[in-house]
């Protein structure tokens, strides 16, 4: 997020696109609701009539995978009606003309044809966004989990820069991240192309610095493989061994049967987790780790706030904290990796990571710190890009609409989208074992529009089989107008409804994110 969570309630205009904020990020949802109560305009763009959409002044019920068209359409109105922030565009951005020429085609009427959103609504929302004193854009996986995920984000950034709605309070481009420490895992280099603080492995200088700090041999200059590529590598035999810590790709990755199939081909698989997950079952060795309650450490949240977690209880059984296990393995492989505590590790992170340089446990004891925090006396940075973008001028990246990798056809006539439910989390490893959440929300269902259901002769509560080109699951149907005609939806929380057997592994060429939000399926009633 470019701006802090606490900023949202103060925005005059909120565009929530591809985020069911009140369900997936309930506490951020509170900020959105507060803004609405205070009279701010909330616009939600989502193919589903989600809970947050019900709160909105306008719900732009776009067709799945047409976000770029919508965002370009908004930019088109703002430029053609001369509503953009000329001062901001002139002083802080470049390549405006390129944007202007690309979006020129996306007139409201043209956009309506792609998105299904009425031209008048596009005009109205564009004027509201451009006219707002402070406007913020919130998005999540509804934007990113497409083959054009990165371009979707570019289109959002274009809009924000066009109206100067970035680099100041209550505005910005704000991805709401879905996992407690997905921000932090990226920050500290658990990515194939960067080291900590996004220092590229391709940079000679960065590699030299880390080789010196770590006292190790050369770090390869070529970026490594992403999750999906690793699984493909395993399938093809190039990847022979894997070490998986706290992940469950067998349920979480697209085309899940294929993921399991690939992992089975490995010569050696070690999985480190707190439960015997579907992935751990395939392992040669399983190492028991501790939960967040049994260790010290830090998480970095979606607004870049680094916060402490504190050990509350002793490790369960003979389990050990992940950091200790990694150290022990490194030592067993002949590399001395020894730390007294996570605080000690944070000292090392700070020493090699400019954006974390000023962060220490002593400071975190007094409260979280938002990076960049370059020095020990730096207060942290709640708002990014104030006065200047990290690259200098903000660059407009004009992007064109592309259809999803898979579009409905005669054989697979419906679009399947996936997401989260309020009471559950990810692959259910934790939330199915709480003694409460799974009791309350015990059974998953498929949202289907009554019109589609009628055609298929499906009643509410019927069991149906949902099938894509990759796989099939059985699930109970719930008739609802949350989904429009032609769209079905369910979550990926329930192992018994392993919906990722169906999803499409087609990936965004830049970020390698899979297109979870759109694939083509057919639904049949089970006799």
């Amino acid at each position: 997020m470019t701006n802090p969570i606490g900023d949202i309630a103060g925005a005059d205009f909120i565009l929530a696109i591809g985020t069911n904020t009140t369900e997936s990020h309930p506490i951020i949802g509170l900020q959105v609701k507060k803004a609405v109560r205070q009279g701010s305009i909330l616009v939600v763009a989502d193919p589903r009539k989600t809970e947050v959409a019900e709160l909105a002044k306008s719900h732009l019920q776009i067709k799945s995978g047409s976000d770029i068209a919508l965002l370009n359409g908004l930019a088109n109105v703002i430029i053609s009606e001369d509503l953009y922030n000329k001062e901001f565009v002139a002083e802080r951005t470049e390549d405006f003309e390129a944007l202007k020429s690309v979006v020129a085609r996306y007139t409201p009427e043209y956009t309506e044809g792609i998105t299904g959103v009425p031209a008048a609504a596009i005009r109205e929302v564009a004027r509201q966004y451009a006219g707002a004193k402070n406007a913020t854009i919130l998005y999540t996986m509804g934007i990113t989990q497409h083959i054009c995920g990165t371009h979707n984000v570019f289109a959002i950034a274009n809009l924000a820069m066009l109206c100067g709605q970035i680099g100041k309070p209550h505005s910005g481009v704000n991805p709401l991240r879905g996992q407690n420490n997905v921000q932090g895992a990226c920050d500290v280099g658990a990515l194939p192309n960067v080291l900590t603080g996004y220092q590229p492995v391709a940079s000679d200088e960065a590699r030299a610095k880390f080789e010196a700090a770590w006292g190790c041999g050369p770090i390869p200059a070529k970026p490594g493989l992403t999750v999906g590529e690793l699984l493909e590598g395993a399938d093809k035999g190039a990847i022979k061994g894997m070490y998986i810590m706290g992940e469950n790709p067998v349920l979480s990755d697209p085309d899940a049967d294929h993921a399991a199939h690939s992992l089975k081909k490995l010569e050696f698989l070690v999985v480190q987790d707190i439960f015997l997950t579907e992935t751990a079952r395939l392992a040669d060795v399983v190492l028991p780790a501790t939960s967040f309650a049994e260790k010290d450490g830090t998480f970095s949240n979606t607004e870049r706030r680094v916060q402490l977690i504190r050990k509350a209880v002793e490790p369960v059984g003979n389990s050990r904290p992940d950091w200790r296990i990694i150290c022990d393995l490194a030592c067993a492989l002949g590399y001395t990796m020894k730390y007294d505590s996570p605080a000690d590790i944070m000292k090392e992170i700070a020493s090699v990571t400019p954006s974390y340089a000023g962060i220490s446990y002593e400071r975190l004891e007094k409260g979280g710190i938002q990076w960049p925090c370059p020095t020990a006396d730096h207060p942290g940075t709640p708002v990014l890009h104030a006065g200047k973008f990290s690259r200098g001028l903000g660059k407009f990246h004009p992007v064109e609409h592309v259809p999803p990798a898979e579009t409905p056809d005669e054989q697979y006539p419906l679009v399947l989208s996936t997401g989260r439910r309020r009471a559950h989390y990810h692959t259910g490893t934790m939330t199915m074992r709480t003694g409460a959440l799974e009791v309350h929300y015990s059974k998953e269902y498929l949202e289907i529009n009554p019109a589609d259901a009628a055609r298929l002769n499906v009643q509410d509560g019927d069991m149906v089989r949902v099938t894509s080109r990759r796989g099939s699951v059985e699930v109970m149907a719930r008739l609802t107008d949350i989904v429009s005609e032609g769209l079905v939806f369910t979550s990926f929380h329930f192992p018994e409804v392993a919906i990722n057997k169906l999803t499409n592994p087609a990936r965004d060429s830049i970020s390698k994110i899979p297109e979870f939000k759109v694939c083509s399926v057919k639904v049949e009633k089970i006799a």
Binding site: N181, A185, C216, L230, P288, S291, L329, T431, R433, H440
Partner: protein, 352 residues
């Protein structure tokens, strides 16, 4: 903004115009009891516990909703104030179950605190009708005992003003007034999302965290402040620990979330001590997992990864780190991939 100066219990205090007498007293460190007041919620001034004596006022005034004025002279514990508070407590106790013995909120109850503070042992002279509502405990999260409700309305305001859902409100009239969802249904038949933010503000035992309050009394738990392990919002809360086990979650004042939490954050802690937790390393032998010691498991992993690295090359190994683990652990695994194995083949589920 202009300031006003007033006298509270003979002590002079200056506060910004618009401050309440209660704010001014708190600034001075003078304690005034409150039941319905909450700094995060709108003031309704309904419970009257916070009455004070203001010189020249027609009657005792409620300090939570009376603005401090220039030259005001306030007494917070005058005989009239003490008598009024005692009577309020007696009236509340006249229709309150005397079951602190096993009440989950025993030790963390404002009504009990004030009864002790003002020496009120029971309803005393007031004898009358007593509610006999059935206990509502048919959902796994919140136990509602409307017999213990003092109608302060904080839950109603928390639902409306923190959660923004307006699930509960006052229903019926007079003695029959109660807090309920629309049509007086149970919570699990209402639009309640079980965030539990009403429970966090309830001053008595009317709303309780079901699992926590059945397992531990307030004084038996150690609270450990930490960060939620679910979504990326980064809410803070207190893990409640009894006998080395996490028995519940309660709100603290978090940087991000204040006291607000969601259903998963507040009620999703049960996995920590779930019987399915892995407690020992496992090695697959002939297709079956066999329990192993750490030394055996670690040397096997080191041997296998080491031989792949040395024989098939570092890039024959792939490593998946975790968005669920700490920064420190992700950093170490990145270091492990690059410095120990010698590959950039490390990723995690950021995209999922």
């Amino acid at each position: 903004m202009a300031d006003v100066t007033l006298l509270i219990n003979g002590l002079q205090v200056t506060v910004p115009q618009g401050s309440t007498i209660l704010d001014a007293a708190r600034q001075l460190g003078v304690f005034i009891p409150t039941l319905c007041h909450d700094p995060e919620l709108t003031s309704v001034g309904s419970c009257r516990m916070c009455v004070v004596d203001v010189k020249g006022a027609r009657s005792l005034v409620i300090s939570c909703a009376t603005a401090a004025a220039e030259g005001m002279v306030v007494e917070t514990e005058s005989p009239a104030v003490m008598e009024a508070r005692k009577t309020i407590i007696e009236l509340l106790l006249a229709n309150h179950p005397m079951d602190c013995l096993t009440c989950g909120k025993n030790g963390d109850c404002r009504l009990q605190d004030y009864a002790y503070m003002y020496g009120v042992k029971d309803g005393g002279v007031f004898q009358g009708a007593v509610h006999q509502y059935p206990l509502e405990e048919n959902n796994p999260f919140i136990t509602r005992d409307m017999n213990k409700c003092i109608l302060c309305g904080k839950c109603i305001r928390a639902c409306a003003e923190i959660q923004g859902n307006n699930v509960v409100d006052f229903t019926y009239r007079g003695f029959n007034t109660k807090v309920a969802p629309a049509m007086d249904t149970a919570l699990d038949e209402s639009s309640c999302v079980f965030c539990g933010n009403c429970v966090a503000v309830c001053p008595t035992g009317a709303l309780q965290e079901k699992a926590l309050r059945a397992k531990a009394r307030s004084w038996e738990v150690k609270k450990v402040n930490t960060t939620c392990p679910y979504c990326g919002t980064g809410c803070s809360f207190d893990l409640n620990v009894k006998d080395g086990k996490v028995v519940g979650v309660t709100s603290c004042d978090g940087d991000v979330n204040g006291r607000a939490l969601c259903i998963k954050g507040r009620f999703g802690f049960g996995f920590i001590h779930h019987q399915d937790r892995l407690t020992t390393p496992l090695i697959k032998k002939n297709g079956q997992f066999v329990e192993a010691g750490w030394d055996e498991a670690l040397s096997l992993v080191a041997e296998k990864l080491g031989s792949l690295r040395d024989n098939s090359g570092p890039d024959s190994i792939g490593i998946l780190s975790s968005a669920r683990c700490t920064n420190e652990e992700n950093y170490l695994l990145s270091k492990f991939a690059r410095a120990v194995i010698g590959t950039n083949n490390i990723d995690h589920c950021a995209r999922l």
